[in-house]
């Protein structure tokens, strides 16, 4: 049974691949009905699927494909001309075939779909020619007129529907019996490999054997016109169907394994970032030591290999976008017949590769856009002719790489977008206000078509008019971190560009700081960063804005969006990260710009998903977690956020000046890396009864401060310390509003004038040089904390 499942899986994968190609080939065939090569290829697909399905006992599918094969065989021998109507029947049967394959995939059996009607029509196409020398066209036109009845063969003319059904049933059973016989003969002798060749002889297919398979060329070619590409694509798709004489160039890998690999690479990238950071630290600390060079080399090799590995794995997940493009020729064909328009589709660059997950996501948006172009863009032939355009409208589908992005461009030479009409319709539907409409640029007006509820169609048709499609396009593309660019000229055509990042898992990000927190902003949506002084911010209607060259840029503070508590003093200068999404722009005020980094996107998990403004998280080089900003959501949130008042530091300051009732209410921190020195200071101050807290270096001191377990009245700080020296510690402490007025006393053996200067610059108010007398230290401390002498 397992073996059967395995074969079944292979069969399904192969069949879906073949069918994908089939659609395109058939549309091609309609244009070149005499192309024998094309016909042979299509025939072989039907034949392969028939063969395999009969081997696997899928009778319905076998039955259907067998009849398809008959029609195609006729055409191949020149007995039947493939015209639009025959093609309709063939395409219908292929749709049925697809439906059957889907059912097989889901249920492992092929019941549930009635193929008889279609088989009847197929038969008619076949018989149409076997009979007397009547032109094929007339014969096939007939069934169209009486569509309900599936048969019009003379023999059956007198039958009513039931009898007809019975007759078909009888023929079907007969056929199935034959098939079964064949199958038994086959399975007796053959494994899967030989089955192919046997069937070919059985069905008298002399050419097929002699027509040697086109050699497979796995190397990808530069983008060129679709017609040239077809041949090689076909060869690739059809390759598995032929007997593999050469060594196989590809293997199929479960996507789950690739995903797992990708996750592991993600971990590796994180570890690499961390290694680089540690390397930097070590370098700083042991400058000039000889082992450093070796460490440097190793780190750079690891980082290089990791990057290469990441690219290599990303490439294994890449699929040519042709996978998506392939279904459009068929769609255009169906649409043009439905809409009575003449439309030609040109495809360029279908070899352009994209991450698998993205390829899966862009399909739907493209369908909507192309439908839209067919329905609203391309005019009917009469109008086109009247305007001096070619009656045949052209839609061009193009894919190419541009930097870290892939661009999918959809152009049509239709009537273009009418800005005034767009505005009028939007006003009618209440999507925009009169004022908005007046201030709108042409580019902004084009984007109206993406608004939910917007529709240009006068009435709802099969193709469009529900006002849903383009809205979906926008959401889907933005979900992929992509942007849409529209350009249009009235009467000449419309051009849409979808710009999508190559991969979803690892992105370049700009890291920004606000107070003590960091956030990552996807670099793709960052247009530029500017430094502004606080008086460059203006207020218009209660919202902050700034002038950026010619434009007025709305501003919002990242701290207001993410409810960041303002504990640090705000600087005179702020940085503005200009975010751009399509035509809308927003300035995000941040405290610091940390830098650019490659980050691995991690989900926040089920528990925290869907937090507004947060797209995910990433793990940084130091092992900490940084949240990734959801730019689209931020743009939306910025409209509702109010600027909060500057945090007042008075409440915190009040805590520091609490009433002291006894000596131990005073607390002083001693920061020194030498235990002896700490002991000396402790001894000097113990007599006063002041509470003393010790810290071994600057970092420790800072974390004790942040914990807030004590309210310190003063700090004694040594300058020379590992990890964080006294100057840095003082500078850090002064960043906090609540410690603005905390007296910092340097206790050091550094006596140079420049040392004293640095001390003052970093915010120290007293400078005690070692050695000192115990009384002197005690008196300096007492003076600075306003120690009341009655406690002594």
């Amino acid at each position: 049974m397992d073996e059967f499942q395995e074969i079944l899986q292979d069969f399904l994968i192969e069949s879906f691949e073949l069918i994908e190609q089939l659609d395109q080939d058939l549309v091609e065939l309609e244009n070149n009905p005499q192309d024998l090569e094309l016909l042979n290829r299509i025939f072989r697909v039907a034949h392969t699927i028939k063969g395999a399905s009969s081997f696997l006992n899928f009778d319905v599918l076998t039955h259907l494909t067998h009849h398809m094969e008959d029609v195609l065989n006729k055409a191949r021998h020149g007995d039947l001309l493939i015209d639009a109507d025959v093609m309709d029947v063939v395409l219908e049967s292929i749709d049925l075939m697809k439906a059957l394959l889907v059912i097989i995939r889901d249920t492992s059996s092929d019941g549930g779909i009635d193929v008889l009607a279609c088989v009847g029509r197929l038969d008619k196409c076949t018989r149409g020619d076997t009979g007397i020398e009547t032109p094929a066209v007339e014969e096939v036109l007939a069934p169209k007129e009486e569509e309900a009845v599936a048969e019009d063969e003379p023999d059956y003319d007198n039958m009513d529907a039931d009898e007809l059904e019975a007759e078909i049933e009888r023929l079907l059973q007969q056929r199935q019996a034959e098939d079964r016989a064949k199958r038994e003969a086959k399975s007796a002798s053959a494994d899967e490999q030989s089955q192919e060749s046997e069937q070919e002889t059985e069905d008298e297919l002399p050419q097929s054997a002699s027509k040697a398979p086109v050699p497979v060329t796995p190397a990808s070619k530069p983008a060129s016109i679709s017609h040239d590409e077809d041949a090689s694509d076909d060869a690739r798709a059809a390759a598995p169907a032929k007997k593999a004489s050469a060594v196989e160039q590809t293997i199929r890998v479960d996507v789950k394994r690739l995903d797992h690999l990708m996750n592991l690479i993600g971990e590796l990238v994180l570890a690499k970032n961390r290694l680089i950071k540690i390397n930097d630290d070590v370098e700083e600390r042991y400058e000039g030591e000889s082992f450093l060079e070796e460490l440097n080399q190793v780190v750079s090799i690891v980082s290089l290999v990791t990057t290469d590995l990441q690219i290599a794995v990303m490439k294994t997940r890449m699929l040519p976008i042709g996978k998506v493009f392939n279904k459009f020729p068929r769609m255009i064909r169906d649409l043009s017949r439905e809409l009575n328009k003449k439309i030609e589709l040109e495809i360029f660059g279908e070899d352009t590769e994209l991450d698998k997950s993205i390829v899966e996501e862009v399909g739907d948006p493209l369908v909507h856009i192309i439908r839209n172009s067919c329905d609203h863009g391309i005019e009917i032939p009469e109008i086109r002719a009247g305007q001096g355009k070619n009656e045949m409208g052209t839609i061009t589908l193009k894919a190419y790489n541009e930097g870290n992005q892939i661009v999918i461009q959809i152009d049509d030479d239709g009537k273009g977008l009418d800005v005034e009409l767009l505005k009028k319709k939007s006003l009618e539907k209440g999507i925009i206000t009169q004022k908005e409409a007046e201030n709108m640029s042409d580019k902004e007006a084009f984007t109206l078509i993406f608004r939910p509820g917007f529709s240009m169609a006068a009435k709802v048709t099969n193709v469009s008019g529900r006002g849903v499609g383009m809205d979906v396009v926008k959401t889907n593309i933005e979900k992929l971190n992509g942007i849409i660019d529209i350009d249009s000229e009235l009467g000449v055509g419309t051009s849409m560009k979808l710009k999508i990042p190559l991969t979803l898992a690892i992105i370049q990000a700009l890291l920004v700081g606000v107070q003590e927190e960091h956030y990552a902003i996807p670099l793709a949506s960052v247009l530029e960063t500017v430094r502004i002084s606080t008086d460059e911010v203006y207020t218009v209607e209660g919202r902050s804005v700034m002038r950026l060259r010619e434009d007025v840029l709305p501003l919002v503070h990242i701290g207001d969006i993410f409810e960041v508590e303002r504990i640090l003093d705000s600087n005179e200068y702020a940085y503005v990260v200009v975010l751009g999404l399509g035509t809308s722009k927003l300035g995000l005020i941040v405290d610091t710009l940390v830098g650019q980094e490659e980050i691995v996107i991690k989900s926040l998990g089920e528990f925290l998903k869907g937090i507004e403004g947060i797209a995910g998280a990433t793990i940084r080089g130091d092992g900490g977690v940084t949240l990734i900003v959801d730019v689209i959501a931020i743009m939306e949130m910025a409209k509702h956020v109010k600027t909060s008042a500057r945090a007042d530091s008075t409440s915190d300051a009040a805590m520091l000046t609490r009433e002291k009732t006894k000596a131990s209410d005073y607390t002083v921190m001693i920061v020194d890396d030498s235990k002896t020195d700490r002991m000396i200071m402790r001894k000097a101050l113990e007599a006063t009864g002041i509470t003393l807290v010790e810290a071994g270096d600057g970092q420790e001191a800072l974390s004790i401060l942040k914990q807030g377990d004590h309210n310190f009245d003063a700090m004694l700080i040594d300058i020379e310390m590992p990890r964080m020296d006294g100057y840095t510690l003082a500078t850090e402490i002064k960043k906090y509003n609540r410690y603005k007025n905390l007296p910092l006393i340097a206790v050091t053996s550094r006596t140079g004038k420049s040392d004293r200067m640095r001390g003052v610059e970093s915010g120290m108010i007293e400078y005690i040089t070692k050695p000192y007398s115990a009384d002197y230290l005690s008196s300096v401390v007492q003076r600075n904390i306003n120690f009341r002498s009655e406690f002594l």
Binding site: G266, E267, L270, E517, I561, F562, E563, V564, K602, S603, L604, G605, E606, F607, L608, I611, E612, G613, I614, A617, I619, G623, G624, V625, T626, L627, Q707, D709
Partner: protein
């Protein structure tokens, strides 16, 4: 010597058998303190217990969701059970632990005040949740009775359920 060894071995195997016999109606729990009360969760729902380390605040969530932290490459939410149970916040001290619990694919870390011990308790000694806390919404699975104390057993799946 070999006599003694045999004795030990036979004693061990006997003990093992007894263990097997009893394991059916014994539940293994890990007990911890939040505020003044002792709680417990099934030992199998616990992925690991770690000392507190830095986490990142997440905006727009209830106060008891203190943030997310990195556990060997996975981003995991951190929930303060004191706040979740309506107690006042408390500074982390050296007894504070993060208990990482898992139920299916859901995973989260919980801040607790202090661990007590691993508890083996007979199923028969576990009573239902008190009437007042009954229903589907409660996080209380039952109440375990030991000689000298009462332990509230929590539903891990409820703890891991998002309720905002």
């Amino acid at each position: 010597m070999s006599e003694k060894l045999k004795q030990i071995i036979s004693k061990q195997s006997r003990a093992e058998q007894e263990g097997i016999n009893h394991s059916e109606d014994v539940v293994q729990l890990v007990g911890f303190i939040i505020g003044d009360e002792e709680y417990a969760v099934p030992i199998l729902a616990i992925q690991e217990i770690i000392k507190p380390f830095p986490w990142t605040r997440v905006p727009q969530v209830p106060k008891y969701v203190v943030g997310v932290f990195n556990m060997r490459g996975a981003v995991i939410p951190l929930i303060d059970l004191r706040l979740k149970f309506g107690l006042s916040p408390k500074k982390h001290n050296e007894d504070t632990r993060f208990i990482v619990m898992r139920h299916g694919d859901d995973i989260a870390g919980f801040v607790i005040d202090r661990l007590t011990m691993a508890i083996r308790i007979k199923k028969s000694r576990i009573g239902p949740a008190p009437e007042t806390a009954n229903g589907d919404d409660t996080v209380i699975d039952g109440v375990g009775k030991q000689e000298d104390r009462i332990i509230t057993i929590l539903k891990v799946n409820k703890l891991l359920e998002r309720d905002f």
